[in-house]
């Protein structure tokens, strides 16, 4: 089961985590805190590093994710991760080149949390990951 929230952007996105992750659903605020590793560096239930996943190139899903969930510009997101890397050697978000690559990464990495255009989520993709939030 996952929550749904409305966005002002055109693209509906699904927040996805690895199937091993016992988290059933997250609010947008929780997604922001976990994706930016603000309150935790590791998923407490599975004791794995939180691995935020992002897209290399700007797309509709990214704009929705940045604008509605993170409430930050793309430039601020990059600066945020650079700052964390500079201060504490924290690894920045992994960058993926396509929807398929995003699903493959999240399904392979136990601690991954990413997002994808909901309309691009095929049944086969859905079988590989867990959706914890939908942003319409």
């Amino acid at each position: 089961m996952s929550f749904k929230i409305n966005s002002n952007s055109g693209t509906s996105i699904a927040i996805i985590v690895n199937k091993e992750n016992p988290v059933a659903s997250l609010t947008a605020g929780d997604v922001k805190l976990y994706w930016l590793r603000k309150i935790k560096k590791r998923w407490p239930e599975i004791n794995k590093n939180i691995r935020p996943a992002d897209f290399k190139s700007s797309n509709g899903a990214q704009q929705t994710f940045y604008g509605t969930v993170l409430k930050m510009s793309g430039s601020d997101v990059q600066t945020y991760f650079t700052q964390k890397q500079y201060e504490s050697a924290e690894k920045p978000a992994d960058k993926l080149s396509s929807n398929e690559a995003m699903v493959e990464f999240v399904s392979a990495e136990a601690g991954a949390i990413g997002y994808i255009d909901e309309s691009a989520l095929t049944p086969d993709m859905k079988s590989k990951v867990k959706v914890v939030l939908v942003v319409n």
């Binding site: 309150i39 560096k41 600066t79 650079t82 050697a89 690894k91």
Partner: protein
């Protein structure tokens, strides 16, 4: 890396092992006996090739390394008006020079090139390396700014080992040579690196334990055990004492940090400190309180820090200095941020000099800096900063203070205190980038 050097590695392993493993007529490999010196050389080369292979394969299992370069070329125009600096008197007569001198200069600086590398070796271990290179006055400088390993055990406990920023204040741990991240062109004086005329030991080599995100107040702490003042971490320390630095704070609202820090370290006569050579043995303690609000989501940004230093020198006693700064900026747009910074630093009190910071008896000094600037963030990798700075250093030479200086000439040819100043107006432009 393995595939890049695959040919070289295979060549070494094959060529150096071939004489040992040449097949005989029946197809079995036969060990040949060669000249002992050649055997030894080939064995060493074979060991090197195998080690290189193992090293490369081990690297393939580690999560990818991140490499960044930081740079910050600058343009500076300065106009100075000066009277009576600490060395401005005739060494033979002891008569101070009270002439006001005006100078100006214009410089284009390359700044430092910084190589910044991080890597996640496994789920819990990460490493960081920050190295700077610069040229000036015909010489090349290379410095290992930071080199550390971090082991993450829990949110509330992890450790770092190596060379790192001392956990004093907020600014010192957030911004250094990654100037694309720093809100202003240079640090306030009280936390400036010694090579930039500053007074705080901003880095040290040691062991730090730390924790973050503890309770809903997001309590954090740092505890550093390190070499201390005057030691570079290159086996040059011949004493047993260590410096202790601690910090604790909370983040009650996202982006708002309130913290206090303290450090204590032995002082050793003759060691190099931030202001030259330590005059006597003793101890230095520094206290700090900081508040910072630097949230990327909010329009307002603010940093305020206060530092108090007590240097106890063996036969001189206690010396006190203090300094504070406030920074404020406002994001007119996501890209444009006008800002202002006020900084006050005082060596000594109003009546007593601090011989640790200014090793000349009877010299009191304070510096007031006002910076007005604007920051234009072209993107996350390129930031342009433009600043106007008004800086005033005020000197007070207590009666007889010149007697402590050069050897020749009569002492103290004047009665009463003397006042001096160094006033600087400058315009600076910095192109900070990362790639």
């Amino acid at each position: 890396m393995y595939y890049k050097y695959k040919k070289t590695i295979l060549k070494i392993v094959f060529l150096e092992s071939e004489p040992f493993l040449r097949p005989n007529r029946k197809g079995y490999f036969k060990l040949l006996h060669l000249n002992p010196f050649i055997m030894k050389k080939k064995l060493l080369n074979l060991a090197f090739g195998v080690s290189l292979s193992v090293g490369c394969l081990t690297q393939m299992n580690a999560q990818d390394a991140q490499i960044k370069f930081f740079g910050q070329p600058e343009f500076i125009y300065k106009n100075r008006s000066e009277k009576l600096s600490p060395t401005d008197w005739d060494p033979f007569t002891g008569v101070p020079n009270e002439t006001v001198r005006d100078t100006s200069n214009t410089n284009f600086n390359t700044g430092k090139m910084v190589l910044f590398v991080t890597a996640q070796l496994n789920d819990r271990i990460s490493v960081l390396s920050e190295n700077s290179m610069s040229t000036g006055n015909g010489k090349f400088d290379f410095e290992i700014e930071r080199l550390l390993l971090r082991y993450y055990l829990k949110d509330y406990f992890s450790v770092r080992v190596g060379k790192m920023f001392t956990p004093m204040g907020y600014w010192n741990n957030q911004y250094n040579l990654g100037l694309v991240l720093q809100p202003t062109i240079q640090r306030p004086l009280v936390i400036r690196n010694s090579s930039d005329g500053g007074v705080l030991q901003i880095k040290d080599v040691g062991f730090q334990f730390e924790g973050d995100e503890i309770t809903k107040l997001r309590f954090f702490y740092r505890g550093l055990v390190s070499n201390g003042i005057g030691f570079t971490g290159a086996n040059d320390k011949g004493v047993n004492s260590v410096a202790l630095t601690g910090q604790m704070g909370i983040e009650p609202i996202d982006g708002l940090r309130l913290l206090v820090s303290a450090s204590t370290a032995e002082l050793y006569k003759g060691t190099v400190n931030v202001n030259g050579i330590t005059p006597q043995n003793g101890r230095q303690s520094i206290l700090n309180a900081s508040v910072a609000f630097m949230s990327p989501e909010k329009k307002v940004e603010f940093i305020g820090e206060y530092y108090h230093s007590k240097s106890t020198l063996d036969s001189i006693g206690d010396n006190f200095s203090q300094g504070f700064f406030t920074y404020a900026g406002y994001k007119v747009t996501n890209k444009i941020v006008p800002y202002a910074m006020y900084s006050y630093s005082q060596a000594g009190t109003k009546t007593q000099a601090d011989l640790y910071y200014i090793p000349a008896k009877g010299v009191l000094a304070n510096q007031v800096d006002l910076v007005l600037g604007v920051r234009y963030k072209i993107n996350s990798n390129f930031v342009l900063k433009l600043e106007y700075e008004n800086s005033t250093v005020n000197y007070t030479y207590k009666n007889g203070s010149f007697a402590a200086m050069p050897v020749f000439g009569p002492f103290s040819l004047y009665d009463g205190d003397k006042k001096g100043f160094l006033k600087t107006n400058s315009v600076r432009m910095q192109f900070a980038f990362a790639f």
